[in-house]
């Protein structure tokens, strides 16, 4: 049953990723990307990570994609490199990047272990709940990294305002 879900949502994620790359309209690419994010969210649900699935839908499919569509609207260009991409399908650049993709794929699948063994206690997540476990990790061991992430976000916002100012 889980395998059926994995195959369905994984196929949807792969198809959406392909359409992101292949569609000619930038807005269509962004909308296919929303589909990819939602399919990944369902995969996270299948992996028993409800909190991460909710974050995926809210942060990726909600905030970041809204931001990207807003930027496309501001840039006001709907059909991008239509001709050049179609022409480049048989060029050296396409062939080289396709070979690169195949090599990366072989590396990724070759390096991934076929069976993973748990090191922590079995079913800790079921026993304590995922958010409990995650909060314990964030505010005890990962506190410094968590605060540094907030510094990073502040710096990003300041940088964006600095870049977008009118001279």
């Amino acid at each position: 049953m889980e395998l059926l879900g994995i195959i369905t949502c994984g196929g949807a994620a792969l198809a959406c990723a392909l359409f992101v790359i292949l569609s000619r309209n930038t807005v269509h690419s962004a909308l296919w990307m929303v589909g990819n994010c939602l399919a990944l969210g369902v995969l996270f649900l299948l992996l028993d990570s409800q909190f991460i699935a909710a974050l995926q839908v809210i942060v990726y499919a909600g905030a970041i994609m809204m931001f990207i569509i807003y930027a496309i609207m501001m840039l006001n260009q709907r059909v991008s490199d239509e001709d050049s991409f179609r022409k480049s399908l048989l060029s050296g650049r396409f062939v080289v990047s396709f070979l690169f993709m195949v090599c990366l794929l072989g590396l990724g699948i070759g390096l991934s272990p076929m069976a993973l063994k748990g090191t922590m206690g079995p079913h800790a997540r079921v026993q304590y709940g995922e958010i409990n476990l995650l909060a314990n990790y964030i505010f005890v061991q990962g506190l410094a990294a968590f605060e540094l992430v907030s510094v990073l976000l502040t710096a990003a916002v300041v940088g964006a305002v600095f870049l977008a100012r009118r001279d």
Binding site: L3, I21, A71, A115, L134, A156
Partner: protein
């Protein structure tokens, strides 16, 4: 109990390779940015898979950090695109070969 971990990891590898392919062969800056997001999503999938396999929270914490980094990247990257569009009237990345003008 086999939890189909190799299926998840293979899916993550395929998604990452597709994203890298798109980053290399597309020229529209926004589509390149979307392909980077695909790669980040693939890495998130691998992190969550390993996190469930080890029954630990480190992977989930890394996923949260990656989401924050993706948000920061979106803010900076899109404002850079707007700036470049204002300067040159295009976001074709083949035209951006200057570091200063």
């Amino acid at each position: 109990m086999n939890d189909y971990q190799s299926v998840y990891l293979a899916l993550s590898a395929i998604l990452f390779a597709l994203g890298a392919f798109g980053v290399i062969c597309r020229k529209d800056a926004i589509v390149v940015f979307l392909c980077v997001e695909i790669m980040l999503g693939a890495v998130n999938l691998a992190f969550v898979t390993f996190s469930r396999a080890n029954q630990s929270a480190e992977g989930l914490f890394m996923v949260m950090c990656i989401m924050a980094v993706a948000g920061a990247e979106a803010a900076i990257g899109l404002s850079i695109f707007v700036l470049l569009y204002r300067k040159t009237g295009s976001i074709n990345i083949d035209k951006f070969n200057l570091l200063k003008w």
